[in-house]
Amino acid sequence: MKTKFIKRAAAAGLAATMALSMAAVASAEADYDECTITISWWGGEDRHTATQEAIAAFMEKYPGITVESTYAAWDGWEEKMATAFAGGTAQDVNQVNWNWITQYDADGTTFLDLNTVSDIVDLSQIGESYLEMCQIADTQAALPVAMTGRIFYWDKTSFDEVGIDTPKTYADLLAAGEAFAAYDEDYYPLALGEYDRMILMVYYLESVYGTDWVIDGELQYTQEQIEEGLNFIQGLEDAHVIPSIQTIAGDGASSLDQNQKWIDGKYAGIFEWDSSASKFEKALAEGREFVVGDYFPDFGEYQGGYTKVSLAWAINGSTEHPKEAAMLLEYLMNDPDAAKILNSQRGIPVSASALASADEAGLLDAKTVEANGKVLAWASNALDPLFEDSRLKSSDGVYYDVMAGLSYGDYDVSEAAEILIDGINDVIGG
């Protein structure tokens, strides 16, 4: 009884705080200049539609502010934006990747310090620990939209066709490789591209050794340990758990979700961000069942894997309309109407007000909620933002070279480990 009362009191207190802070924000927003501001993001069709709808609602709420949008799919987007950031021609409001903050805003000038517009943007809606992840050079460079992590997803229909259950353990996964090979050589229980392999290897090693991949700019794993991780990945390929890189390249698809073998269920599993798995589900042929998997307890003693900021919103440091850009940012992050339109298009929102609004309206995608819950409950390691530096993860980067080289047989495990360590040290060492 007492607990119930405390919970109610806390909820009322939180609601009152939210209402007060939003009222303060509303008064700051009361006068604004008529102007045109610009916004950019990348994503799939659903995200484009939802974001455009939210922007239209914003323009209706604030007549006089015109918002011009630039958006596209991910391919080539980072190169385009990096050049825009360097040349000072980026849009006023930009959807940014978490690692872009360290990569493009090291001195805190590329993006506007959001503390300077905190009378408009309600920073209190976001937990302090999440805000800290987007801080650099004593500035609040961006606002995180959601937290995300990688988790397994399975095409259950394929597993039903093969006659086995979806894997719950590493042993199950290896057995699935054998069962899929026996069913049809073209069928695999899991498909991983080069970068997916890298992330899975880190998850495996963190499960075995319990240490973060990089701490304070130093790689925490030895050559032998990394060789063990690479052997693990190569072992999956040898055991017919994952197709070779050559097989995936031969499929001629620009991404895994557009791969016909994924669509048809020949590739029956992925290891994907919970915030972007929905596009894989949508790509599946009609009637196929897409389920969220579990982390494997028999990888090692520890709960490996990490969570990170899925995406963030930042304001261009040289915007001519910081106030109006901040109003748009506030709308997209915290406004209840926007939350209902955007729901979980960018993952489960970390903004308390957005989460409450979308959740109340029952608009959050059930599978995204399930996967995000599992990720946050399991993954215990921290991620260094430089892990995602484009010099490492781009198709021209070290991760691709090492994972593809190993799969093609150009490198042995020892050579691959050495190249990986050198490449990582080059980047994290500045």
Binding site: A82, I245, I248, G252, S394
Partner: protein, 314 residues
């Protein structure tokens, strides 16, 4: 006083006249001024900048330091990845340029005959050149060359197990080459115009002397259109060495860098690694290579190109 005023007027009139004359004399310069401004701003200045950057460690997000050495150029010739890309670029150019020229000339020769529906064929053969390196072409090419694509399916009917065109480093380069050769339309149109300029009298005389069509082609047609072959050779060579779209949209330089041409590597270096200094050095090396080939082509002209004012050629 009146005299001095008259002298001043005459001097002013002379001065005025000379200004007008200057304008008249340099009217050509005024006409090309817009182009000159554009050239200086959009070509000369970027080229000069990139030459300067090639001697620096300019990183888009880390600033710039003048190296004061040829380090970037030394790296171009000692970095395995870059040397390999240069090798792939040479291979690509030496495969595609002769093939494209031969194919364009062959089709132009056929389309020069009076055959039914020739205009339709000319248009149809030109279309691939307009499509260029678009997303639609990437989708089409992948659909044809993927492991279970149209080509391997067709080969399967004859009991041939086709290779992995897109994922086997040995074969992927040919997929990219084929895309370039397929886009032979612009060279074909130029050849066609040249073929139209060859007088029919020559063919009639040769026919009376009993020359076969092949003989006529090699002894009349080819020599008379060598200036156009030369023009196409130089332009195609320049384009092939600078090719970017094909590998970018279809293979992204893979598998295992087997289709990474130097221009793709320049792009990656500049816009993925942000190493503008190295990218500029690579661009200048490419420029010098192109200059060398162009100079060789121009010097070789006197041995095989026949101009109408050569008095019968060499």
């Amino acid at each position: 006083m009146a005299k001095s005023s008259g002298t001043a007027k005459m001097a002013a009139s002379k001065k005025k006249k000379s200004f007008g004359e200057i304008c008249k004399k340099n009217i050509g310069f005024f006409f090309i001024l817009p182009w000159l401004i554009g050239f200086c701003w959009f070509k000369l200045y970027p080229m000069a900048s990139s030459l300067f950057y090639s001697f620096t460690d300019y990183n888009l997000f880390k600033g710039i330091n003048v190296l004061g050495t040829l380090q970037n150029y030394i790296d171009v010739f000692t970095t395995k990845k870059i040397v390999r890309a240069l090798g792939v670029t040479f291979r690509y150019s030496f495969i595609t340029v002769p093939l494209k020229l031969a194919f364009a000339l062959f089709i132009a020769y056929i389309l020069n005959f009076k055959i039914k529906g020739v205009k339709l064929f000319r248009t149809a053969y030109y279309i691939p050149s307009i499509l260029g390196g678009s997303v639609a072409i990437a989708v089409l090419w992948k659909a044809v060359f993927r492991d279970d694509g149209l080509l391997n399916t067709a080969l399967g009917f004859f009991g041939i197990n086709g290779p992995s065109w897109l994922s086997d480093p040995k074969w992927a380069i040919f997929v990219i080459c084929l895309l370039r050769v397929w886009q032979f339309g612009s060279a074909m149109v130029i050849f066609l115009a040249a073929l139209k300029g060859v007088s029919n009298d020559l063919y009639e005389a040769a026919a009376i002397d009993g020359a076969s069509k092949w003989r006529q082609f090699f002894t009349i047609t080819v020599p008379l259109i060598t200036p156009v072959i030369f023009y196409n050779l130089v332009t195609q060579l320049c384009q092939a060495f600078q090719e970017f779209n094909g590998p970018y949209i279809i293979t992204q330089g893979g598998p295992r860098n087997s289709t990474t041409l130097i221009s793709l590597l320049i792009y990656n270096s500049a816009f993925k690694q942000y190493d503008m200094g190295m990218a500029s050095a690579m661009a200048w090396v490419l420029f010098v290579i192109l200059m060398i080939f162009t100079v060789i082509a121009f010097l070789s002209q006197k041995y095989w190109v026949f101009y109408s004012d050569d008095d019968g050629g060499k």
